[in-house]
Symmetry: C2
Subunit: 340 residues, 2 copies
């Protein structure tokens, strides 16, 4: 097949050709001329995979846990795509560690495909690129797609919103701010994994999570911060929420302990979403977010292309030297374009 | 003065009225009708403050370090504005811990103003809101503005780009992924603080940082990851970079040890930027980023307002059910608007 055309690439990818898959992803990442036609051609073929987000602070052992999960799925003859979002530079653009480290355990298995993506560019570019690569792996027929992100920053939450099941990984003894962060992840976590469960303090971590989740989710709870107990509100959206209570699974990723239970919990959540209509709901939310992001970038590109470079540079100078505020400057620029 | 009008609020804020300041920030955060006129009126009064970004993983003790820095500046009769970006929910929207915890040490001092901002909304909203609040504190006459963010996610880097001097806080023994993250922060760090320097492993952390920074920044270095040494490229931009080598300062924030040295390093970097023209350069970069963000949001809002709600809902359904891909859907929507 001709891997230089949209139809050739699409056909080969759908037939399971891994070289075609890698090439399609490169087109997307480099935003070549073929990128959009490829996305348009493959989109209708997607929608079958279960997408799993795995997120947690540095040091929780997420990558090792993702490895363990992937191996269990492989044992069940399910194919697995892994997308690792590396917390590397927004400038260098190179994916860093994920690929090379993971290759050791999963290399050579055609049922596994691993891709690292770096935090490059800015302005939501990564969230969109990740959504696109998820869709491509989905169209390529992977049964489970795992997206691994670090931390719970804003963009990580955006990326997590692409998953059907979000696993939040905790570990004992990561400092007093960790408690505070849990308040934020409460709303995105479908499952908690307490990794490094052979370490001291694991029961304290589990108890803290249980407290948060207990009693059908209370309207407030307390967190320890710098030695003081502080109240934290739990938002209405979560309190009203579903019949699903996030299970807390203890794991030791390095030995594989608890990994099977974690996979069971993920599969239970998958069934729950399908039976409760939650999957449709998440599909709709995701479609709305994606439309918004793509529309926004499309409009920006189109407008910037219409503004003369010299005019743009002068405006930047004027804003930098405080001659004009950026909001007024934007209005001027838009009016200028409208006149043309 | 009439604190319900733009001119009344502006005048009071510039005269040092803290109540007016709080009210202006609320207008910005809630995006009221007065928000843009206020930003336009205050923007020309900004540009005097030195803006300091402080970022690091959870558990490094950033908040305590920011407290210590603020107290040293207060001892030098410089006023300090603190903006804490809380890693809380994108949904609940409430700022969490920063204010209450910090109030203990700095409360009642009119030379200090503290504001927590939550990771709410999505799509770059926080970065823009933070930039706006920085500008307002700048116009209000604060000499130093400290922006504290967690982690090195994409949005954290965006927020850091608003600072003239970025302090990256590390701490000994936060797990093996921390090493990997350092590769990413190398490019945004102007100063490294190794906090909790009374703990075991501090010299190892310092050595790892020194290795990264040594020899005028090499073109690659090695990081330890899961027990293996892996090579990491250092991007050209950094290698070509300036005469500034990021100093590494050991601190114990809880006792204040090293905090004076850290403030000295920040002030040295401030002078360096002023003398080298680096401040102008960063102003221009920031203006360009800000223009882009505001233009993008403006165009999106304007276009969404022109699309009938029913049409938008139908499009979301079609994308969710894979009848059409989101890129084609966006083109259809834009064409529809153009026809009107």
């Amino acid at each position: 097949m001709d891997l230089s055309t949209v139809s050739g690439l699409t056909e080969a990818l759908l037939a399971g050709d891994r070289r075609a898959l890698a090439r399609v992803i490169s087109h997307i990442e480099n935003n070549t001329e073929l990128a959009r036609p490829l996305l348009a051609a493959l989109y209708p073929k997607s929608g079958r995979a279960h997408i799993i987000g795995v997120t947690g602070s540095p040091g929780t052992g997420k990558s090792t846990l993702v490895n363990a999960i992937a191996q269990i799925y492989r044992g069940r003859e399910l194919s697995v795509g892994i997308i690792a979002i590396d917390p590397t530079s927004p400038f260098s653009g190179g994916a860093l560690l994920g690929d090379r480290v993971r290759m050791r355990d999963l290399a050579g298995d055609p049922g596994v495909f691993i891709r690292s993506m770096a935090t490059r560019g800015s302005l939501g570019g990564l969230a969109q690129a990740t959504a696109d690569v998820i869709m491509i792996l989905d169209a390529a027929g992977f049964d489970r797609i795992i997206v691994e992100t670090v931390g719970v920053g804003q963009s990580e939450v955006e990326i997590a919103s692409a998953a059907y099941t979000t696993v939040v990984v905790e570990a004992p003894g990561l400092g007093d701010e960790v408690q505070a962060i849990k308040a934020g992840v409460l709303e995105i976590a479908d499952i908690f994994a307490v990794n490094k469960a052979d370490r001291e303090g694991v029961e304290r971590t589990v108890m803290a999570l249980k407290m948060m989740l207990s009693l059908g989710v209370p309207d407030r709870f307390q967190v320890m911060h710098h030695g003081r107990m502080l109240p934290v509100e739990i938002p209405q959206a979560r309190r009203d929420a579903s019949a699903w209570t996030p299970p807390i699974i203890k794991t030791v990723a390095t030995s594989g302990q608890g990994a099977t239970e974690l996979v069971e919990a993920i599969e239970n959540h998958r069934l729950y979403l399908e039976q409760s209509g939650g999957r449709l709901l998440r599909d709709r939310l995701r479609a709305a977010t994606e439309l918004r992001m793509i529309l926004r970038d499309y409009l920006l590109e189109r407008t910037l292309a219409q503004i003369p470079q010299e005019k743009l540079q002068r405006t930047i100078e004027d804003v930098a030297s405080r001659k004009i505020d950026p909001y007024s400057a934007v209005r001027h620029l838009v009016n200028e374009v409208a006149k043309v």
